[in-house]
Amino acid sequence: MNIAVTGDDLVVVRDVGKTFSEAGGLVFGRSQPSVRAVDGASFEVKRGETLALVGESGCGKSTLGRLLLRLIDASEGEIAIDGVDILRLSSNDMRQMRARVQMIFQDPYGSLSPRRSVAKIIAEPLEIFGLVQTRKQRRDRVAELMIQVGLSPTFMDRYPRQFSGGQRQRIGIARAIAVDPQFIVADEPVSALDVSVQAQIVNLMQDLQKSRGFSYLFIAHDLSVVRHIADRVAVMYLGRIVEIGPKKRIYDFPSHPYTQALLSAVPEPDPETRKSRIILKGDVPSPANVPTGCSFHTRCPIVQPVCRTERPPLVETASRHLAACHFAKPHPIPL
């Protein structure tokens, strides 16, 4: 089936879901319940835009990011990148597609091979896609990339452990932009970094986007960082997108009770405005046992009987602003 693509949509996602139910998923002799990690995700990422994906631990952000790059296979749905239905690509064609999509990981410590020099790490994608032929070409291109991410090329032959967290994240970014991708999934790229280093990396990512024009799916749980980097924001809860819209709408007029609670829970670094928080009851339910109806109903402060039985669809509440709640109502949070 073909997915209708408008000119400025780079990534189109339709009804994508992922259920983890490992065959042989027996742990200590007990069969593991299947986990619905992503459920019915539909959205677009436009060319040159940053779509932020936010939500609490375990809500499926990383899984969704990995699905978009086909690092794992979707259980159902369709994903098109630049008009190409990637779920139907042969593994050979998918290999070519990989030159156009890249990933940056949260953990700069764990995601870089410790026994390879920085030059080798950055050059790897260049070699896989045959973009450099000679040793000199390789070193020149690596040096160029290091300068672009603010690293001195004199460190090319050092190993990751000789770098700080922020520098390692720069190495990961250099590697991701080496092949000139159109789309980068950045999975919590600054979550493990200190505030002052975080600011440096966020600015670098924005500068690179401006000069290169690629799109980001920026996965984060810090809503303050997202406010600085995103054009649009999608909020996930238990595998589902519960609200999506332009950044300004999400922050000024959040419409889903979960988004409202998330925004109100952020402790503001300002003692003069101690805000009144919406404190949600209880914990996030297990994705192996998603509540019926609206999956947020066990914690929702405005829950009604209908919410327990009927699942609210994601519908437009204002132009390009969608929310999945029977009682969605734009509600400014005093930030």
């Binding site: 505030v195 966020v202 600015n203 402790p267 101690r274």
Partner: protein, 342 residues
Amino acid sequence: MTIAPSLSRQQPVSSTHPGPLLKVEDLSIEFGPEGTAVRVVEGVSFSIDAGAAVGIVGESGSGKSMTSLAVMGLIPSPPGRIATGRILFEGVDLLGLPRSRMPEIRGRDIAMIFQEPMSSLNPVMTIGDQIGEAIKLHEKMGREERRQRIIELLKLVGIPDPERRLGAYPHQFSGGMRQRVMIAMAVACNPKLLIADEPTTALDVTIQAQVLELMHKIRRTLNTTILLISHDLGVIADICERVIVMYAGKVVEDADVKTIFRSPKHPYTRGLLQSIPRLKDENTRLYQIPGMVPLPGTIKQGCPFFPRCPDRIDKCARETPPLLEITSQQKAACWVSAGATS
């Protein structure tokens, strides 16, 4: 909710002491063999009055945890060592006490909550038994009385259905619930000082909001003095009245929270405040402090912030600024804020 009398008891340990509850003076901590040791905390001084809530903020590696571990008598030694200083708790120097006295003080007078709730809980012991152990260390009481106390504590920290839950194991609890259990254990013997080292860093924002609410409640109901360590100024602004800013093992600023936010005096504090992304801020470009935090032991002379400081003067490269009083509410370790011009 009301707190049963057993919990709000305040047993005097020493005679009522007139000065601050905790006074840290010129504390230095080093790691490694003597001679080549690296100072990771240097000349740290601060004090906390009974009933106050004070925060320590600083970036990774700035010495926050080591400072609090020193107060608990828990610096891993070797390789660590307290090189200089005194830690006065109710006027008594904890560093002068024989090591064997510390376990008695830990838990009863000073308790600590750690960042990683899972690694600090015993995986093969029920939640109830672990809290029971914490009580047994310092208080004699019968089985049933202890059970009641455990239930009270679990109620205090907001674990629903505590009668049933006390038989559960840590892995059956979520991260937020485990952190609540850690808090219950820490306040089990109603300590005078509660040190919380990044108590919410590993938690999701809605769960963090619950735990911060719980910290407020502990203060209100038990009147506990709090030392809160965090790299998140938002969390500190929420709980504390005063904040100590650490940079490269030193205290660079110490002021009440409102003053720090309104008029930070140390250039590092200013940079830190400017580089925090704000929820209400539309401005897309973040301020960035140039350069990197120096590795411990690499700055031998002068101000540790010198290589990154936008305000530096010649004197800063030569002489290390001490923590100087700017007003009665604010101290900063900076020559320029103290009025030097060359």
